[in-house]
Amino acid sequence: MYVAVKGGERAILNSYALLAQARRGDASVPELTLDQIQQQLRLSVDRVMCEGSVYDPELAALAIKQAAGDLVEAIFLLRAYRATLPRLGYARPLDTADMRLWRRISATFKDLPGGQVLGPTYDYTQRLLDFTLAASGEAQAGPVASPQSEAGAVPRVVDLLGNEGLIESHEPSPGDPEPVDLTRVPISFPADRAARLQNLARGDEGFLLAMGYSTQRGYANSHPFAGEIRFGLVDVEIEPEELGFPVSIGEIEITECQMVNQFAGSKTEPPKFTRGYGLAFGASERKAMGMALVDRALRATELGEAADSPAQMQEFVLSHTDNLEASGFVQHLKLPHYVDFQSELELVRKMRAAMPESGAEAA
């Protein structure tokens, strides 16, 4: 006799215990500390802060530890934490020209004011497994690193092109309206660029990478150049109303990517270069570049270009960037669906019964 399954609560509590055990692994191996994660898994921390939409390396490290290294799960933890935090106000726009640079490269000019600075990059490493790390060997002592250009601002490539009028300028909208806050108001379509960029900044790195990649393979035609990528420290300033002048509340590490794209011009406008923009917390170059490609692709309609590739379709792209939404909805298929399935089962039986001989025979 069938007995309805009971004891869901006990099963859930048992799963917590098993999960805690699985997360910890072999207890004879020392436990990870948050410092270790922050210091030695910094790129994981950066990604979790970026898509988790909170700049807090310590909490991100905690989330990574709790999620046993599953970054999407860690992003979820951080987002759920931030969801009910109060919003105190807006920061002033970051001045990325004033960034204290760890890294700054341009693929469009051989040399330029401020120079090319490789900084800490995997780009030119030869991807050979380093067995000294496996043997817990200490890293070779090198020059003590500090961010470049303490001396002063390094102009951005787009500004250099802008001086000649060769690239579009981006002025604030008339009246400089407050941008919509997508963490408070759902996106509506068509979305303006500020909303799109917010959405992309929180978007899944893998998704943006793939969408950006698709634009390079004929699904949209944007002829991108990596005008400039810079990574370094910028001040975050707020301007409290009662003070009337800005005060710095700290500094954050960010990666900025300015893609430069051709634009054939139109009846009213001469040919010039257009821009795609990417910005990410920490050292997240893949994310910033993917974002810049997708940003430019999403401007197709605005620039009078055909918009028939997936990366150019606002609703398609922006509705599917969020990995929490995607992961949740895909994985909700694990939940019981037997009521719906029962209805479908009955329908399929009914339709098969209605078919002439052929189909029903196979059963």
Binding site: Y2, A4, G8, A11, F76, S319, V339, D340, Q342
Partner: protein, 290 residues
């Protein structure tokens, strides 16, 4: 006397605000609910938050419940009609941990019933609130994925696309081939997705004395059916709306009027049908014993 068979209460976790959400967020959601009640069937956008449970697992319903629940409420949570499926257990525990309200499995005792995929068999009464978890609030989405387009269709009450779809079903199969999330017209104005309840449950929404609230967390929409509102399942004059019927009664309680789940009992084609509403089934059997 009908007695709930749920485990004893859980202590409230004082680290979180009552019902988890902060009061500003609750106020924002209540405003959206009020607007939804004022325009029956209209999908109100709201600033859905990331909840500590995943999107797609009931975050819309959870946010609605969290915004309306008070210390004196009695909560019932079901999934597929059952109080004891893991997701229902998990959501109930979440509210017990964050509110310590009384919980019940008995439909008539509850003041708030949060549900996924079913409406209880026991009729609801005045003063109760049904909170539906909604995965896809837009009934037209499968026909037109672009929201910019569907919004215009709702604005113009232009639902020809849906009627054509239903007509095509009839032309192809001889009947409408939608069995759950069957589209309804609310108050003669808005086409609405009833969430993936079986069409068996659709008639229960019509002129229901309870307030019915629908929360879609991932899609960031709330909509509502106020008490005593007309809810009509789409149909044609020559193809009237029909609900599922079973040829046998529930194998456990003998009910002939409830939605039955098929349970496979062996690997030789053996199966039986049992009530999907587990508490309805349990109480039926209790009455029989007496």
């Amino acid at each position: 006397m009908k007695v709930s068979d749920l485990p004893p209460p859980v202590e409230r976790d004082a680290n979180f605000n009552f019902a988890y959400l902060d009061e500003r967020t609750k106020r924002m959601i209540r405003r959206a609910i009020l607007k939804a009640v004022a325009i029956p069937g209209y999908q109100v956008p709201f600033g859905s938050r990331e909840m500590p449970l995943p999107y797609g697992w009931g975050t819309g319903g959870i946010q609605v419940t969290a915004s309306i629940i008070g210390p004196d409420d009695v909560l019932k949570v079901i999934d597929q009609g059952a109080d004891d499926t893991v997701n229902a257990v998990n959501i109930r525990r979440f509210f017990q941990r964050t509110t310590a309200v009384a919980v019940t499995s008995v439909t008539t005792e509850a003041t708030i019933i949060q549900t996924r995929h079913r409406i209880p068999e026991t009729p609801l009464h005045d003063g109760q609130v049904m909170v539906y978890q909604v995965p896809l609030p837009e009934p037209l989405q499968k026909l037109e994925p672009r929201e910019a387009e569907t919004r215009v269709m709702h604005g113009l009450a232009d639902y020809g696309l849906m009627h054509v779809k239903l007509y095509e079903d009839i032309a192809r199969f001889g009947h409408i081939a939608t069995t759950y999330d069957y589209p309804v017209m609310v108050d003669g104005r808005f086409l609405m997705a009833p969430s993936p309840i079986p069409k068996f449950d659709n008639p229960k929404m019509h002129m229901n004395p309870a307030l019915q609230l629908f929360g879609a967390g991932r899609e960031k929409r709330i909509y509502a059916i106020p008490p005593w509102t007309s809810v009509e399942s789409l149909a044609f004059d020559d193809h009237p709306f029909e609900v599922q019927r079973w040829s046998e009664p529930c194998a456990l309680c003998g009910a002939t009027d409830s939605f039955l789940d098929e349970v496979i009992t062996d690997d030789r084609g053996g199966h039986m049908f049992v009530c999907s509403d587990t508490d309805h089934c349990r109480l039926n059997r209790q009455d029989d014993d007496r």
